[in-house]
Amino acid sequence: MTNDELDPLIHVPARLKIVATLAALPDGDALSFTRLQDMIGLTPGNLIMHLRKLEEADYIGSKKSSNGSVSITTVALTGRGRAALAAYTQVLRDLLGGLDGDGMPNHEHQHI
């Protein structure tokens, strides 16, 4: 098993944080852009860029609504996004299971 098997869309610190945060919500629930930004700690521009990439892959869905004069954007993890995170987590588990305490693959010790 290699790092290449990790989903490149999720295997990025900022996007991993976004997906993990949204996955902590019950299925179907959405989070406002401002709260997500507050929790992740990204600038609005960076967050929009990462959300766009995730939305293009159908990992998240976003919705805009207006409350009087205030426009509210909410984002939620889709079923596809949840499945992608589950698969990513499984690959990570398998990868870490194959590494020893030094971070080297277990089989490499046999050649040393």
Partner: protein, 219 residues
């Protein structure tokens, strides 16, 4: 934030799987903590509320011959602590639910509303019972355990429907404590409820803490 510098390419750069696992677990735990309307510390606070509040009532009725019910100061302590719990719980719930919307949020709000109505309704039965001529020992037994037996059972069913097993277990334990307290007599029921609910709250705090600490990747 500077961490986004390696992120536009989408390949994660030198993002090591160990770092990814740590970040995933850390982020998940933090998000769970922030979204939980009933964090472990709130349950620890509630355990103090019930132990001190109901314990004060028990101390005030201990040795009463005949039983006349909790004294004014004891009830004042109980009500003050309950008010503090309501205030802190409301603040925590609002904080956790800020910016969150969807079906689970709506179901949670409906559940909270139903539980409030059941709680008020079950305590409201005290007045007719008192006016119907129920003796003080019977009446005194009722507020300590009766309403919480009803609330516990209704809450256990409602939370099981939402698959919130921790709170369902908590509600069932509250009902069990209330049922046992019913056999303790008017004086003993206050003590049984004080200790029983304190143990239930501490148990829930431990379960919630365990849920929050549960790792997705690293065991």
């Amino acid at each position: 934030m500077s961490q986004t510098s390696d992120t536009t390419t989408g390949n994660g750069g030198n993002f090591d799987p160990r770092q990814a696992a740590a970040l995933l677990d850390q982020t998940t735990q933090r998000a769970r903590r922030q979204f939980t309307p009933g964090p472990p510390l709130l349950w620890v606070f509630r355990s103090v509320v019930v132990l001190v509040g109901l314990g004060a009532c028990w101390l005030s009725v201990r040795g009463q011959r005949p039983y006349t019910g909790p004294t004014g100061p004891a009830l004042a302590v109980l009500f003050a602590l309950v008010a503090a719990n309501i205030g802190l719980s409301t603040w925590t719930i609002k904080h956790a639910a800020a910016g969150v919307s969807g079906p689970a949020q709506r179901a949670w709000r409906i559940w909270a509303g139903v539980m409030l109505v059941v709680l008020i309704g079950s305590y409201a039965f005290m007045a007719p019972a008192y006016h119907a001529g129920a003796s003080h020992p019977q009446w005194g037994l009722y507020p300590a355990s009766g309403p919480l037996l009803i609330v516990g059972l209704v809450g256990a069913v409602a939370t099981a429907a939402r698959r919130d097993w921790t709170i369902s277990l908590t509600m069932l334990a509250i009902a069990a404590a209330a049922a046992i307290a019913g056999f303790g007599g008017p004086v003993g029921s206050w003590l049984i409820m004080a200790v029983g609910l304190c143990v239930v709250c501490l148990g829930t705090a431990a379960l919630r803490a365990q849920e929050e600490r549960h790792n997705l990747v690293r065991s």
